[in-house]
């Protein structure tokens, strides 16, 4: 068998359906990371503008809480922001672990999933703390 024939054979080795579904999952992760990045770009701009407004107007902690308490729009915005972070960051960390640490086993997916849940839970808790 020549090198080229062997290479063609390599791609057919194992279960093509399984390989294909793994590749599909990777593509979905890529789409999720790009979509969340687009969302993050918008959210970070709004968040920075909010910070600059608060600082330039010398708002106290109490004044800020007065505006965020019971403010459904602020809560919805920060929930979306937290969601984008929880999707974006673990996918990037997963790639870093694969490429720089050579960590490619299934355990990495569980760890990335746990980081996603933790980011979402802690972020939402912070958002809720200034709402309730």
């Amino acid at each position: 068998m020549s090198g080229v024939e062997r290479a063609y054979d390599d791609t057919r080795a194992g279960s093509p359906a399984a390989a294909s579904s793994a590749a599909r999952a990777e593509v979905w992760l890529w789409i999720a990371q790009r979509a969340s990045a687009a969302l993050l770009a918008l959210c970070v701009l709004v968040h920075l503008a909010t910070i600059i407004y608060a600082v330039r107007h010398g708002l106290s902690g109490a004044a800020i809480l007065g505006r965020t308490r019971g403010n459904g729009i602020a809560l919805a915005f920060y929930a979306l922001y937290v969601l984008a972070i929880a999707v974006h960051a673990p996918i990037g960390l997963r790639t870093l672990c694969q490429e720089w640490l050579g960590w490619r086993s299934a355990s990495l997916n569980w760890v990335a999933g746990a980081i996603a849940l933790a980011l979402f839970a802690f972020g939402l808790r912070a958002g809720w703390a200034v709402f309730a």
Partner: protein, 235 residues
């Protein structure tokens, strides 16, 4: 005189320094050839055409992958010092010779062959030279498989399964070929962790390509085509 540091041995080899007379319009390949013909005949290296057509003489010169035949010493020498090593990201066979098997096997894995769909009885396909597909193909079709982009790619170093810029560029020229019938299989082959989505858009491949091809642009095209196919449930 040039002080030329040349990689000798296999992966566990070391640099050895040679003194080579300096001439005007001297290429790096001239330097390597001088060493082999006048100082040490056991030095191994590859070349064929000497005029930038075959891509066989690619090596790492002062840390950068280049065609040695088209690289003037005056452009790359730091003072009188040259360091010449085999291409990175490929196993070293001996001295300046690398094993290119994996590089070309990846072209096959990326389904880099044309899949015809017509017979000799059918009409010729007519592809306008200014059609968007043909323009996209023209941007990448001049690749001669020298391996400079592959040796310059960070992602190949991090992920040994990554198909690499040249193979993905080839796949893209076929994805844009209106005559080709292997689109589905090819998009599947270039999807996923070892495929186009692993590219970090560092652009080193395009920066170093002696043919001024930008494989990153081809890979970006593949990313869009594969993502769209997955989104539509076609893959």
């Amino acid at each position: 005189m040039l002080q030329v540091s040349v990689w000798r041995g296999g992966t566990d080899g070391a640099y050895q320094t040679y003194e080579v007379p300096r001439y005007e319009s001297q290429s790096v390949l001239d330097v390597v050839t001088y060493i082999q013909r006048n100082i040490d005949p056991t030095l191994s290296y590859r070349f064929a055409c000497r005029v930038g057509m075959c891509g066989a003489c690619a090596m790492t010169v002062n840390g950068v992958a280049r065609w040695t035949c088209r690289t003037h010493v005056s452009k790359v020498a730091e003072g009188d010092a040259l360091q010449i090593a085999p291409l990175a990201n490929l196993p070293v066979v001996k001295d300046l010779v690398t094993d290119m098997c994996e590089f070309f096997d990846k072209w096959a894995r990326a389904r880099g062959r044309f899949v015809p769909g017509t017979t000799r009885k059918d009409e010729f396909a007519r592809v306008a030279s200014n059609s968007p597909e043909r323009v996209a193909i023209d941007a990448g079709i001049e690749c001669i498989g020298c391996g400079v982009c592959y040796a310059s790619c960070d992602v190949v170093g991090w992920n040994p399964d990554y198909l690499g810029p040249a193979a993905l560029n080839r796949a893209w020229t076929l994805v844009k070929d209106v005559r080709d019938q292997g689109r589905q299989e090819r998009l599947e082959a270039v999807a996923g962790d070892a495929g186009c989505h692993a590219c970090h858009t560092h652009l080193a491949c395009g920066e170093r390509c002696p043919k001024n091809i930008v494989p990153t642009a081809a890979i970006a095209g593949l990313k869009r085509a594969v993502a769209l196919a997955v989104w539509k449930g076609e893959l």
